[in-house]
Amino acid sequence: MSGRVLVIRTGTANTSSVLAAFRRIGAEPELVDQPTEITTADRVVLPGVGAFAAAMSGLVERGFDEALRERIAADRPTLGICLGLQLLAAGSEESLGVEGLRVIPEHITRLRGEVRIPELGWNRVEAQVGARCLESGHAYFAHSYCLEKEPAGAVAGWTEHGIRFVSAFERGALLACQFHPELSGAYGHALLTRWFEGGA
C-alpha cells in the first residue's frame, strides 16, 4: 500500500483540517472531485459538515454514491467523519425524504434531552471490547444529529449527550466517527494512525 489517502470533496465541507491531520501522521492525502479511483483506492475518507441533503446530492451528482457502496461492500479501508458517518445511513431526520447511502439500514435522528444542541466540544467515547481501531478517550464533537443504534455486525463507541448515541463504529475495514478525529488532539492523531496503518 502507498501512503495515499483520497479525501472526497463533499461540497461545503471544510476539508483543510482533515488533509492537515493526515499529513501530520505521514500520509499523502489528496482531495478528489471525481469518483474514478474511489472503488479501488487503498484508503478513502468521506468527511462532511453541513446539511445532510446538500452533501448527499453532491455525492449523487458526481457518482460517488455507487462507488462508495462498492468499495465498502468489497471491504476496502474507508473512513466516514461526522456527516460522513450519517451519510452511510438510510436517511436522516434532518432531511426527511432524502435517501442516504444505505450502507447501514438505520436512520439518523436529532439529539434531544436537557442539553445544549448542537453538541460542540469534547466528550468521552467508550469503546466496546473487541474494537481494532477505536479506543476510549475524549474526542471533539460538532453535531446536532446522531446514530442511536449500532449497526449489525459492528463494534461501536458510545457517548452520552442528552441520549446515549453511537459516536463511532467499525465494521470490517469501515470506520465511521461522529466526532472529528482530525480535531481531537492526541486521541484523534492516534486513531487516524491506527486506521491508516490498517487497524480496521
Partner: protein
C-alpha cells in the same frame, strides 16, 4: 458528559500576535504558529484567532496565518474579525478554520447568519456579541465597542440562534480588560435565553473566574491575558476547574 472547554484567544494583526505575550522559552512570542502549538500542548480545547488587521493586506496575511496554524494544530480553530460576507467565511474555512465568528456585520445584516448557517452549517457559525450594561439590562455594542446600537443583547442572542448560529461568543464590554471576572449576570441571562452553547468572554484574570463562569452556565470559557501574561497556563486553569468538580478534558 460534555466537558467545559478552555479557549485561549489570540489577537492577530498583519500575521503577528498582538497584545503583550510574555513567554519564556518561545522562539518567537509573536508567532501565531508557535503560540498555537504551545497552547495546544498545555491542553487548550480550542483556539480563537481574532483578526484585528485594518487593511486588505492584513486580511490576506491572515488567511496565510490560518493556513500555517492549521498545518500544525490538531484542535478546533475559530476565526473571527472582518467577516462581512459568506465568501469571506469560505476563504477562512478553506484556509483551515473550523468555525467562523461574525459580529458587527451580523448586526448590520442579520441575514448573514442565515446564509452562513445554510452554507456551512450551524456548528460552523458563531455569533460574537459584545454586550454593555445599561440601566435596564444589556445592549449590543459594535465596531470594537465604539458604537452602541440600542439593541437588547438577550433578544439579539435569541435571534442569532434562531437564524442558525450554533454558538454564542459572549463578551462583556464592561468587564473586558478589568481582570475582575466575567459578567456572571449577563452570562446566566443569555444561557437561559438560548439553547445553543455559550462561550464566556471578558474579564478573566484568575482560575476562580473561569470556575464562576462555568457554574453560571458557560459551556466554554475564553480568556486572553491570563494566558498571554504567563500568570497561569491552560493546564493550571484546567486543573483548578477539575478540582472544583467541573468536567474538563485531561
Amino acid at each position: 458528559m460534555l466537558c467545559t472547554r478552555v479557549i485561549p484567544c489570540l489577537d492577530v494583526k498583519d500575521g503577528r500576535v498582538v497584545k503583550g505575550v510574555r513567554f519564556q522559552g518561545l522562539r518567537d512570542a509573536g508567532s501565531p504558529v508557535d503560540l498555537a502549538a504551545l497552547y495546544e500542548a498545555q491542553g487548550a480545547d480550542e483556539l480563537v484567532f481574532l483578526d484585528v488587521s485594518a487593511t486588505p493586506e492584513g486580511r490576506r496575511t491572515h488567511v496565510d496565518t490560518i493556513r500555517a496554524v492549521r498545518e500544525r494544530l490538531s484542535i478546533p480553530l475559530t476565526v473571527g474579525g472582518g467577516v462581512r460576507a459568506d465568501d469571506d467565511a469560505m476563504r477562512l474555512l478553506d484556509a483551515g478554520a473550523d468555525k467562523v465568528g461574525v459580529n458587527t456585520q451580523a448586526v448590520e445584516t442579520p441575514e448573514l447568519i442565515d446564509r452562513l448557517a445554510k452554507r456551512f452549517g450551524a456548528q460552523c457559525t458563531i455569533l460574537a456579541i459584545d454586550a454593555a450594561r445599561t440601566a435596564s439590562g444589556y445592549e449590543v455594542v459594535v465596531r470594537s465597542g465604539k458604537q452602541r446600537t440600542g439593541i437588547d443583547a438577550l433578544a439579539w442572542a435569541a435571534e442569532g440562534a434562531s437564524r442558525g448560529a450554533g454558538e454564542i461568543l459572549l463578551t462583556s464590554w464592561d468587564q473586558d480588560g478589568t481582570r475582575s471576572g466575567y459578567d456572571l449576570t449577563l452570562l446566566a441571562a443569555v444561557h437561559a435565553r438560548v439553547q445553543v452553547p455559550v462561550i464566556a468572554s471578558g474579564g478573566a484574570a484568575h482560575p476562580n473566574h473561569l470556575i464562576e463562569a462555568a457554574r453560571a452556565g458557560a459551556d466554554a470559557v475564553l480568556a486572553a491575558s491570563i494566558f498571554h501574561d504567563g500568570d497561569f497556563t491552560v493546564a493550571d486553569v484546567k486543573h483548578a476547574l477539575g478540582a472544583a468538580g467541573i468536567e474538563v478534558r485531561r
